[in-house]
Subunit: 281 residues, 2 copies
Amino acid sequence: MLKIAHLGPTGTYAEAAALAYAQIELSDTDFCLQPYPNIAQTLIAVAGGDVELAIVPVENSIEGSVTMTADTIWQLTATLQIQQAIVLPIHHALISIATNLDLIETVYSHPQALSQCQEWLQQHLPQAGRISENSTTAALTTLATLPHAAAISSVRAAKLYNLPVLVQPINDYPDNQTKFWAISLQPSTTGNCTSIAFSLSENAPGGLMTALGFFANRGLNLSRIESRPSKRSLGEYLFFIDIETDVNNCPQLKSALADLDAYAETVKNFGSYHTIVIEQN
Amino acid sequence: MLKIAHLGPTGTYAEAAALAYAQIELSDTDFCLQPYPNIAQTLIAVAGGDVELAIVPVENSIEGSVTMTADTIWQLTATLQIQQAIVLPIHHALISIATNLDLIETVYSHPQALSQCQEWLQQHLPQAGRISENSTTAALTTLATLPHAAAISSVRAAKLYNLPVLVQPINDYPDNQTKFWAISLQPSTTGNCTSIAFSLSENAPGGLMTALGFFANRGLNLSRIESRPSKRSLGEYLFFIDIETDVNNCPQLKSALADLDAYAETVKNFGSYHTIVIEQN
């Protein structure tokens, strides 16, 4: 039985991504889903061998990087490997037993979902308090007893918890997508995208351009660059980059990575993988 | 009377940064502080001419970029100008009328402060709900009536609201600093750091390296690179970069910016400025 960790409780977008992944990639494999209370713990579960896979959000098209995923994947001693990227369309719904918006005093959700609906909330629920939860579904277990509360989650989650949808969609930008990674300890070496992270032994300035030059000078395209604080001092960063290339046919990537290994303080290579884009349903 | 906008209500770290800035830079000028309910509105107030200056958080050494500042400064039609950077040490305190931690059921603060104390909260208040507010001080106005609530803010804020500090410091990393910008509509052309943002007309890959090359090829150091989603589609970004150079003595910067202007879709030059580092008190 292949165990897949995801952010819980049941009904999260991470669970929807896990199910989409399993449907496409695991048709002949017996699997089960294992919800965890936060994203960090799903990654720790993979690193510790408690589960074979974790499905974690990486970035959203509106709010950007999911910092807990980046920070945890960097901090873990094991170098986790990305097996696949899954891009999921995100349509947020306002879920509540209240029959109209005037009754709602508090809105619960994950901070990313609250941010993705901030203009809608400002316009339609300016007086409501916003409560951050570890997931979009954490509040759904008790929402049936709260006549003045609402949660932001998916229509699918509302159905799972047998709760009414008051308004949907409520995301500020209709074209809202989140990219997830399917992560395991298995070596990952096939695909058209390679993700790495690195820190530099001296402070970044010239160092970053030198490091990026290893790729640029070989004609390798970077499709994403993300900086995160090193947490050592202000102005010192880690860098997460995605390189677009067919790794099986790319000696340039190997030699660029060898140069980076020699130059950087620490390099983590999360492997090469393909991307599945899930269509609207 | 020079009006300075900051995130309110009174007692925020932005207000502390505004006072530090005024003390150092405005010794002979009559000024007043104007609190606003969120960061975006402080920037809108400057752009609209309602105030002369805004003091806004840009990045924290642990949690990274303050996305509302980056997104708003990009979206405004006016190109705001950075007059100064102010680096403030951040020591969070748990403020509550509760006499011990067991009584606390909810913790209020700004999402950045909640994140900067997440390990402490996990260890000492695992069962307490975490409520996101627009600022670290928003909850302090009512905290005296809430025996089961706490807020994360500064010792200075606790004194201002006459509230007891239960534990301090509670930030997960002792060396926690936040960088603020003092922003106005006045042209800003002097300093050792220049901040710009740009978008690219084609999707980023080779484009980003080309754009960064304009600076690297002229020996200009980038001390920060931050990507934000364009909000048009996943994988399309804006880039915020800081270039370290004495702008008054740097023809290379002028020609690099001219090349970037010709190449990029949109470039915003937020000007050149110096940094003040506030010592621990």
